[in-house]
Amino acid sequence: MDARKASKKRKAITRDVEEEAGVFSGDELSAEDLDGALSDNNNELSGSEEEDSDSEIELIDDFSDEDDEEDEDELDSDEIPSDTEPETPKLSKSTLTDHEPNFRVVKDANGNDRYLYDEINPDDNSDYSEADENANTIGDIPLTFYDQYPHIGYDINGKKIMRPAKGEALDALLDSIEVPKGWTGLTDPSTGKPLELSQEELELLKKVQMNESTVDGYNPYEPLVESFSSQLEIMPLSAAPEPKRRFVPSKHEAKRVMKIVKAIREGRILPYRPPEEREEKDETLINYDLWADEVPRADHVMHIPAPKLPPPGYEESYHPPPEYLPDKKERKEWEQTDPEDREKEFLPSDFGSLRRVPGYDNFVQEKFERCLDLYLAPRVRRSKLNIDPESLLPKLPSPEELKPFPTTCATVFRGHKGRVRSLNIDPTGIWLATGGDDGTVRVWEILTGRQLWSARLSDEDAVNVVRWRPGKDAVVLAAAAGDDLFLIVPPTIAAPEIEKASLDLLDAGWGYAASNPAPSGADALKKNNPPQWIRPSSELADAGVCAVIPLRYVAKSISWHRRGDYFVTVCSGASTPASVAISIHTVSKHLTQYPFRRRLKGGGPPQTAHFHPSKPILFVANQRSIRGYDLSRQLLVKIVQPGARWISSFDIHPTSSTASGGDNIIVGSYDRRLLWHDLDLSQRPYKTLRYHRKAIRAVKFHPGGRYPLFADASDDGSVQIFHGSVTGDMLSNASIVPLKVLKGHKITGELGVLDIDWHPREAWCVSAGADGTCRLWM
């Protein structure tokens, strides 16, 4: 099939060519013309034909093929066959006449002629690799048999193989066609005209096709000119004769050799010098004193010498005392801990006698680690205090020397339901007043613990604070319950004349209040207007209440002036307006005043206030600071900053400023601190004692200055008693000695001891507990 295709292609080309030829040569192509032309052409081309016969064979071959094709495609083109048919006799004639045999005639075995054809050599151009169906199948018969026929045999399909056209005919045909010079058959795409190439251009193309250099006149095969040759020249370059030294032994060398020989003879040069051992001696042997001229030099300040290894202890002995040997538990524990975590790197063991002692496994390891420590471990100088811890403890005077101070619980006052919020001992030291969550105020006899009097001030509100009026001339108790303040003269506890005096004291004010009539209704409604003192209800009046001050806000703190005419109350609730939080009440005039118009600076609402025991100074504490105001000059004179977060209470030393010493204040805070301030020293505390686990609720100096004691009450249920003596000497500071921790109150609802007070004469104190009891400590 391949072959056939190929042949078809070829055929198409030929037809093309024919058509072209037709185009150029015109339609009027006659046999006669052809004949003549052919003959002409033949003559022209004959020379070239003879030059290479191979090409002719080719041609023949080609044409034979073409013939076959034509046979097949006779219907397609009847032109050529019709043209060629009349020619055939002529052609055959010509073939016969100028019989250029493509075979040799050889005698065969029978003496007959045998035609031996040259082997068809398919050229590179040939598409045919082997004989195909177009091969002549007539067998081994002389072609002469077909001389009279137009065909020369049959192909494999039984079709006639037509006798190929002879060269002359074709040549004649071709010659008849006039091909213009430089015809290529291509169309110049730029012009649309047939592309014509000049002779030079064709030459160039040919050279390019042949991979030749396109330069004109270049010859790739120029003859080699040898510049150097192996051939010996007859005449040498230098004609100098060979020097003598080339043939005479060197004297200089002889000299040198003799030198060596002499040296060898003398033994200066050894034929083999053994490797020297010098370095061994030099290196290790010390032969001089390094410290011959030693000059001591102080160590660098930053130098830290490596610590020496500690000497071995008893447990490292090969035969230690038996108590050093580990028991089973210790052994197991040692084995189970990681080697790095072990306290000792070995287990003490007893080998009994020296011969049983084995080698120590980790010896090299330990020495290696020591080496590592020496150069890798960072060194730090740590000062190790090798002192007795006892010496660190402050030398405190023994409590025995500081006696008396309360040590034991002597009396328990039971009666209150719920917490006891506040308590106070009266100036004579006989009665104890308490107020609690149950809204009652009670008065007890201190020594016996017997309740003398009680009154329910309020049904729902707790009694927040109770305070006796100072001074022995009258028995007046101020109590705050809910929004109201009550001034009470407890009936039948004191002597009748004193009771009378106290009633008179309280009654005197009514007249004063009446002479200064109450402000008008509009003014009364104004919030900032001070409240009017009113008479109690009959029920309360029966109970002993003499006057009621409706404060409108809950007062948490009451503090009397030392003369007993004034007392200050503080409403510490966060919702209380700042202007009415602190009020000063005058008993003799039944007058209430609000000294502060604005909120105190320095944090939070006011907590508590106290009058200075001797000067006209009012100390007011808010959450973080305590301020002292001179009431006569109306000036701020002192600011104390204890540094506590939330001050709960404070107290002023009773002998302050009297014994030429400065003011001393103790401050208790909810953040568990008890702070001692020496006001002349600094704003900051002189001593901070943090020794409660919970908030401190109340602090109190022993009144009167008879005993240098103070106490604090804390939510952890304990009361701590301190010795705090203030000397008159300005140079010496107050000495504070903790004396006793009194424990007894039970913690109820996170609260322990809520209030504390001292007996005015004895070293006794009473504490109010959240567990509903009060205790007298003596």
Partner: protein
Amino acid sequence: MAKIKKKGTHGQAKNYITRTQAVRKLQISLPDFRRLCIFKGIYPREPRNKKKASKTSTPNTTFYYTKDIQYLLHEPLLAKFREQKALAKKIARSLGRGEVSDAARLEKNHAPKLTLDHVIKERYPTFIDALRDLDDALSLLFLFATLPSSDHVPHKTIALCQRLCHEFQHYLIMTNSLRKSFLSIKGIYYQATIQGQDIMWLVPYRFVQRVNGDVDYRIMATFVDFYTTLLGFVNFRLYSSIGLRYPPKFDTRSDENGAELAAFTLESRNATEGMKTIGSSKSKAIENSKTEVSKDVQAKVDKVIKSAGLDQTEDEPMADKNDEESTDAIDRFEPAAPEADTLPQPDMSGNEAGALFAPFTFYISREAPKAPLEFILRSFGCKRVGWDAVMGDGAFTHDETDPRITHQIVDRPQLPEGSLPAVPAVAEGSTPKVKPGTRIPGRTYVQPQWVWDCINEGKLLRADLYGPGTTLPPHLSPWVKASRGGYDPRASLAEQEAEGEAEIAEEEEEEEEEEEEEDADDSDEEMADESVSKKAAVAEDSEEESVDGGMDVAGTDDDESESDEEEEEEEFPGVDDEAASESEDDDEAARNQHQRELEAEAAGLPFSAGATEESTKKKSTKSKKLAAKKRQEDEELERQKMMMSRKKRKLLEKMMYSNKKTSDEAAKLRSKRRKLEKGDKAAKK
């Protein structure tokens, strides 16, 4: 306004430098830096504030002091290291080209030699400084002297270490400056005092050392390089200080025969002086060369001084000498009583040490370690030490039957006669063999520990306690000083117990026992009662016995404490509610007893728990008193703590913690000992 300081140019950031920075600054490799640090004794520091010192956020960095590194820049060793590096490159190139001989030549002729002399002079400006730092050097060199040679540890190094160690030991022997020694489970500790400096080192027992994988011998070899140089110089100085020639003559042949110490021959620096040899067995008359030498030196010095015309100075040294002698005579602290504490005497002079074993002739049996014994015996004045021939040359005698021998050190168990193998027939001419286990009359047989205990005590101890086969008394470290609150095994238990401790311990034990007993017999009450009462009596007896020595002391203590208690109670009538609760408890106990009595009556049984109740009650009150006292003390402490600042309080608590740790440890040891003593007593009964 002050000029803004640039960060990292002042303060800690400048004073400290990280290791990487240091290595970069010096332009050496890390191993070279390590060597340099080891040689120069440079170590990392811990800056006070690591964050300020470091310029990065990397937490684990090693800091060096910048000035240390600055000084290193001009170190000659650094140049040597660079030369070495260059040479290593050349050798590598030669080897790469296959020029082995070239490489060998380079290595041999061009290898830079490190000399550490200047480093030693720099690190130890005076000889005393060097002595002070000798501990680690000796420990490491003595270890290396016993190591087998290997790829990491060349034979040459080991030989050098051995030589240096033996030289040092010879110096100690000559001057009798060894003071103490201790047999631990790690090895043998020695302590010598040279020129007032205490030097302690550890020598391993002679076994093949086990080496774990993570030991880097290169590091140790660097240390050994440095230490050998150091010890060499120290030895030179020491030898020349006593007028001996350094290095001493070394007999290779006798060393090969295992002579060790005896392979060295010490000689005086003066050639005219006769050769003073020690250690060789042949020279029988070994005098106290040290004293002679020192005398010679002294005479010479005197002569020189005279010739120089320094007559006025002459008198002073004489006077000094007299003084010294007199002080020497006085210096001895005699224990007041035979059983009193014997203070360890660190100021034992060389003469005393030299006289300890001087009159004796020792023979070391085969099984005893020869090297340490020989060293110790010689350095404590013994001139004649013999040993079995198999243990090497250099013995005073190899003959066990030598009549001059006064002490023989044996370390073998006592075996019955029959189990010993028969002695083979003695060949003519060889030393007669002694049958193992037999005793030659006229000499003392001791175990090796005797020697150690003697030198630590500074006197000869009873040898019968250390006889062969006997259980030795415990071997105690001579360096442990009795500290307050610590446990001292020398003192008796009663001396160091806190008051009441023994009673409490006993009570606890008894309670345990009683509980057991009660569990055991509920049914037979009378029997139980009897046994309990008996036991109580026994317990009381044993209590008395257990505190046998210090009974009176303990008793007085108890009385005192009781009286104290009473006083205190008087002072605090009903101190607090806890005391009250105690009394309540007592009341309750009484009520309970009454109840039980009633019940017993109702059951018709005689109530006879009186004795036991009494005794237990007595004890319980005692312990209660103790507890009350303790509580009192605690309260006092709390009161005092209240007045301390927080910082001080923390410090105090830390100290109390550490003190408590030691005291706990001591209490543990005491309780162990108490148990052991009790067990012994029971065994005796």
